[in-house]
């Protein structure tokens, strides 16, 4: 009987590049920036890394395919390097690979690194790309904001919400993330905005305006993981352990069967349930100290907080407007600025979220530091509401 991942693996070190429009840097520079910080934090030598997982989603924009770019850039010593891609869960997927490698006992120390260099396209927004073979024939001409915007239409219809009320809650989400990002020196967007700014911004995909959409950024983040014993042997105190890593992937029920109503993420609900079970968390609203969820768009964050079981179904608007998820609230969400302001270099994002949890749990989050956090939870949502990859990671104090 599988016992899950809880407390079998700890984070030995982490690093994260500055996110943003890094016009003067290649993807390789960003990888080194994250890796150097990570290696120093882990207090090991590069040659102690026994296996690596490399996450990048839109590789044709920068490093190209395979694990080779990671090994070449970091001069890794002929170790196994696995390149992974799983939409916006790519970074978390790399982390999962490294964590599972250590948990299996196959290696003692493993590296996970995610990177994306998105700002070499010549235009704003995500790079335009093919959907693959047959999909090009029948998929609607969708964009990322357009597919997520539909959550709002379905949510309004289901819960009989006035569009203005929903839009106001969405605005609050973005204002909050900008407040948080302003306190984060590594964040892409560090300006504060007002609710009026959000409401009056140009429309991108109805009802998502410019400020309902996250930043498209260059960046890299990485983690080195090992066993609790090895970490202790290296003198690590306040070890941050992996409590759960879960993934749920759509199988067509939302997009092709009849049960799903378009207002929530079926995958996230499944992944959350499994993650709480794996981490042995009965009441997440009471126990989780902070969240970094996949706020690619404001509406995504709003419905995700229901899918994670923190806000009751149909009640997230109230929690958001009450400031429950603000930095000063009961459970802060996107305390580092989130995708919205820290930025969203796809392959790096999952690891960037874990990085913030890791800093917070180690008391190293500077101006953003929460008092006495115990458990931090991250979430990625890759793809589209109707067919996606949802990932959840819970990290926390070892043994807690």
């Amino acid at each position: 009987m599988a016992t899950g991942i809880r407390d079998k693996v700890v984070i030995l070190g982490m690093g994260c590049s500055k996110f943003g429009e890094r016009w003067d840097k290649n993807a390789e520079d960003l990888m080194v920036e994250a890796f150097e910080e990570c290696l120093k934090d882990a207090t090991i030598e590069r040659n102690q890394i026994e296996a690596a997982w490399f996450g990048t989603a839109i590789e044709e924009q920068h490093v190209g395919k395979s694990g080779v770019p990671l090994a070449m850039t970091l001069r890794l010593p002929y170790i196994p390097v696995t390149r992974v891609e799983n939409y916006c869960a790519t970074g978390t997927e790399a982390f999962r690979g490294a964590v599972y490698a250590v948990a299996s006992g196959a290696v003692d120390i493993a590296l996970a690194l995610g990177v994306e260099k998105l700002k070499d396209t010549g235009y704003g927004g995500l790079p335009q790309r093919g959907r693959g073979g047959l999909n090009n024939f029948y998929w609607a001409n969708i964009s990322a904001p357009g597919s997520f915007a539909q959550l709002a239409a379905a949510y309004r219809a289901k819960h009989r919400v006035d569009p203005k009320d929903l839009k106001r809650a969405m605005a609050h989400i973005s204002v909050k993330s900008h407040d948080n990002g302003a306190k984060n020196p590594k964040a892409h967007l560090r300006n504060r905005i007002t609710e009026e700014d959000v409401l009056n911004a140009p429309m991108i995909a109805e009802p998502l305006g410019l400020y309902d959409c996250c930043g498209v950024s260059d960046g890299s983040a990485c983690a080195i993981v090992t066993t609790p014993d090895i970490a202790r042997g290296l003198g690590k105190k306040d070890r941050v352990a992996v409590k759960a890593v879960q993934l749920a992937v759509s199988n067509g029920q939302e997009a092709q069967f009849d049960g799903w109503d378009g207002s929530y993420f079926a995958t996230t609900r499944v992944a959350a349930k499994r993650a709480y079970q794996e981490a042995d968390i009965a009441d997440p609203r009471k126990r989780v100290s902070m969240f970094d969820v996949h706020d690619c768009f404001s509406i995504t964050e709003l419905v995700t907080m229901e899918d994670l079981g923190i806000s009751a179904e149909g009640k997230a608007i109230g929690d958001v407007l009450d400031g429950f998820y603000d930095a000063s609230g009961k459970i802060p969400c996107q305390i580092d600025g989130g995708l919205k302001c820290f930025g969203h270099p796809i392959g790096a994002s999952g690891l960037r979220m874990i990085y913030e949890m890791y800093l917070q749990l180690g008391g190293r989050a500077g101006e953003r530091q929460r008092a006495d956090p115990v458990l931090g939870m991250t979430h990625n949502l890759g793809g589209f509401p109707a067919q996606n990859v949802s990932s959840i990671t819970i990290v926390g104090r070892y043994g807690a």
Binding site: I142, M203, E206, Q256
Partner: protein, 481 residues
């Protein structure tokens, strides 16, 4: 040919947008002030995602509604603006109609008579098998030309065969004369026309009467008994003059729809015939004349069956399904007459893998999904395993066409980021009645007028064009029902 042979059904389609001619005239007044004289009424304007094929298909669906499609043995597609010079255009329509492969098809082109010549051939076939004649036209005209004013986009379809005909052919006659009133050379984008007065005097007034006289004589029908005279012509007062010369009552001369639709080219004689059939009663006699390097003339008598024919959109419904368009710049852009800055997002390679298209042609062109024999779940696309999590049966699905299944909006957006020739781009999840759903592009949307639950109807449209290779890719979109 027996009494049970003739026109069994008919249908038509006009694109919803109606470009105001005064908008054309106003934009071009600085250059061609004479256009003001033509600045009356409106013309049907194809969306960026419509062409002769998509419009003819819509007319064909209208024509075949409620009928057993497997009875159709042949499909003729007439147009002078077939999207493909060498790829059977009718074959695309046949696939979109799911007519099956045991079918004869024919693309007819080369003249404004293409539609009537196809119909005359079908009526002369003698096999008694059902022949579907569809005609669609989407002509481009130079900015500030009279053609730009006169032309309209549209389509019609006529089903011929044995059964309960709503109209029987009393006679047909064709005249062929190499009278070049206008032409469009092989590589030309636009028509080149000669002087209108000559076309009227030496063309219409001499060639058409010969054809009418011949057909009436052969059928032993007196001209004064004609109740509907259908003849497309963009020249003023020619229709009544031809009628007068032939002894046809002035009151029988039918409206050419110039004010409300424009001239739909090779489709227009059939458009006018469908319009007449929609208003005809048993015993009416309809004379159709089509001019173009000669003249096709066909004389029909309407039967009692006309009163039992199920109602349809036809021309009248198409005229009512109308949206006023005053944006001439949009018309120019839709017809690729101006080089718009379409942005980098429009630059992606649109190459179509033909192997993939062929393997999936029923799904892509026919919108055929599956229905699980084990659990009954309809689904699109059809997968090897049933999508119902309680079933997941392997290879359990029979073909399930979705094109004619009513749908409704489950979620939607208006997207200003994704590249669209007609932004913002509306799309969303549509739910089919009885099960099945898909994320679909929307078309024919009124800005701001979409809501969850809104009834939708699937329509065959251009999905993408590949200008580098000249390929047009089609798929189905959801339009307000």
């Amino acid at each position: 040919m027996g009494n049970d042979f003739g026109i069994l059904s008919f249908g038509a389609y006009l694109p919803r947008r109606r470009l105001q001619r005064k908008a054309i005239a106003a934009a071009n007044a600085w250059f061609a002030p004479g256009l003001r004289g033509l600045a009356k009424g409106e013309r049907a304007m194809a969306g960026w995602d419509e062409d002769a094929i998509t419009m003819a298909l819509e007319a064909a669906r209208d024509c075949l509604a409620g009928r057993e499609r497997s009875a159709v043995a042949q499909l003729m597609l007439a147009s002078t603006t077939h999207p493909y010079d060498d790829r059977q255009n009718a074959g695309i329509v046949a696939n979109a109609l799911n007519l099956g492969s045991a079918l004869a098809v024919l693309d007819v082109t080369g003249s404004q008579r293409a539609g009537t010549s196809a119909l005359a051939t079908a009526l002369a076939s003698g096999s008694g098998k059902e022949i579907l004649v569809a005609a669609g036209e989407h002509r481009r005209a130079k900015a500030a030309s009279a053609q730009e004013m006169h032309y309209g986009d549209g389509a019609a379809a006529i089903l011929v065969g044995n059964g309960k005909p709503v109209a029987r052919l009393l006679g047909a006659h064709s005249e062929t004369v190499d009278f070049v009133d206008h032409f469009r050379g092989g590589d030309a984008e636009h028509d080149y026309s000669w002087e209108e007065r000559w076309i009227r005097d030496e063309g219409y007034m001499k060639i058409v009467p010969r054809a009418l006289e011949a057909v009436l004589k052969a059928a032993a029908v007196k001209p004064e008994s004609i109740t509907h005279f259908c003849m497309p012509c963009t020249l003023a007062r020619v229709g009544p003059a031809v009628a007068e010369r032939g002894g046809i009552a002035e009151g029988a001369v039918r409206d050419t729809l110039a004010a409300v639709a424009g001239d739909t080219g090779a489709a227009h004689p059939l458009v006018l015939l469908v319009h007449a059939l929609q208003e005809a009663k048993a015993g009416d006699r309809i004379l159709v004349a089509a001019f173009g390097q000669g003249c096709d003339a066909m004389l029909f008598e309407v039967t009692e069956a006309i009163s039992q024919l199920a109602s349809r959109r036809g021309v009248k419904g198409s005229l009512a399904r109308r949206k006023e368009e005053s944006n001439y710049a949009k018309f120019l852009a839709f017809n690729d007459h101006i080089a718009l800055e379409r942005g980098m997002r429009a630059e992606t390679d649109k190459s179509t893998p033909l192997t993939t298209l062929y393997r999936n042609r029923d799904m892509v062109t026919g919108l055929v999904g599956g229905r699980c024999r084990a659990c009954g779940t309809p689904q699109f696309p059809s997968g090897r395993y049933c999508v119902n999590p309680q079933c997941n049966a392997l290879d359990s699905q029979e073909p399930r066409p979705f094109a004619d299944v009513p749908a409704s909006v489950m979620s939607y957006t208006a997207d200003s980021l994704t590249y669209s020739p007609d932004p913002p781009h509306y799309y969303g999840m549509v739910q089919f009645e009885g099960g099945g759903r898909m994320m679909a592009d929307f078309t024919d949307i009124d800005d701001g007028k979409v809501e969850v639950g809104m009834p939708m109807r699937m329509m065959f449209r251009i999905k993408e064009t590949d200008p580098a290779r000249g390929f047009v890719r089609y798929f189905w979109k959801a339009a307000p029902a």
